[in-house]
Symmetry: C2
Subunit: 205 residues, 2 copies
């Protein structure tokens, strides 16, 4: 009665997480389109029927994968953004550095991410999930920009959007670069592009 998260529930929660994570890792290796329930089961050394026990259909499992991925995505930005929102003054270079820190996040797979993004064009539920996430991130950045005495007077909502457009567009291009040196150079270019966005507004004031 007291323990709502009883052992019974923790077994369920643990298995569900294990399955979704196994699904994600498998999708990383073979692609989302080739990640089957049988393959997940083999990887986790459980029968496929156990997966169906927790996720009655594959659609539901994919839905949970999307949630998992968007949580990861948020995990990259959220601490960066919330940390910045607590500091007194806005350090532009620091902000930009952190916005592009996705580079170092090995837990994030671009192939799986774009495969899931493609699903938004035919699945309304997934579409809403993606929209919600990006809306939330943009709002957080907006709040940070508002704290700056100069930037705060301008259209921070729009500026936040402009920044994320560059960040997303940058990662689209960076995804195609194999050479490490070229990658680093381009990354610096794109960081500067965001800095320019912030400075133009400052100069304009």
């Amino acid at each position: 009665m007291i323990d709502l998260l009883s052992m019974k529930n923790s077994i369920r929660a643990a298995r569900e997480s294990e399955i979704v994570e196994g699904f994600y890792k498998l999708a990383q290796e073979v692609g989302l389109e080739n990640a089957s329930i049988a393959k997940i089961a083999k990887r986790l050394e459980i029968p496929p029927s156990l997966i169906m026990h927790y996720f009655p259909t594959k659609d539901i499992l994919i839905q949970e994968l999307i949630t998992f991925i968007l949580e990861h995505y948020q995990l990259i930005y959220e601490p960066i953004l919330t940390q910045l929102s607590t500091s007194k003054s806005l350090d532009v270079d620091n902000l930009v550095e952190r916005l592009f820190s996705r580079e170092w996040n090995l837990l994030f797979d671009d192939g799986v991410f774009y495969s899931c993004y493609a699903l938004t064009f035919r699945n309304p539920t997934i579409r809403e999930a993606y929209k919600d996430l990006h809306g939330a991130l943009r709002r957080t950045l907006d709040e940070i920009l508002q704290q700056d005495p100069v930037l705060g007077k301008g259209d921070t909502e729009r500026l936040a959007e402009q920044i994320f457009v560059v960040v997303e567009g940058a990662y689209y291009y960076l995804g195609m670069i194999d050479d490490r040196v070229e990658y680093a150079t381009k990354l610096e270019f794109f960081k500067q592009q965001v800095i320019d966005l912030l400075k133009v507004v400052s100069v304009g004031e």
Copy 2:
């Protein structure tokens, strides 16, 4: 002997095009991951084995689909860019208008495009095809910018890259917007963002 593109070849070419286009349209409707050879065959009212006759494996067919898609992608930009490259002076507003004309191209499906982009992360051949295309487009825009007396003095290669980053990032965000009015408003914002990029450089000179 004279006619290298004889009837024999035109039958083959016609069928191959028909199959790849059928594949593309099917992928638009059901998603790339659900587009099977049997479904393409049904749609074209031919036996599946005829598809295998022209495309021995599905991998080859997907490869041809990528080529088809990238040709479409190029079709959006190329006429815009080449037309601009022949005009004497650079009309900034016109350039930007044309860079964002993807909005009106009903032949282009974002869902399929991003699904294919996701394949670049595990397929080196597809990766190269995507890289080549974006490289070519960037070079063309670079040449256009070089013609401008003011912009031509600056780093046009880098500017071209910055512009495409905004364009790609913009379409990423626009892909999630359902409301037509909001879409139009955001589109104008992103166009302005590119115009700002061009003006900053001009001012800086």
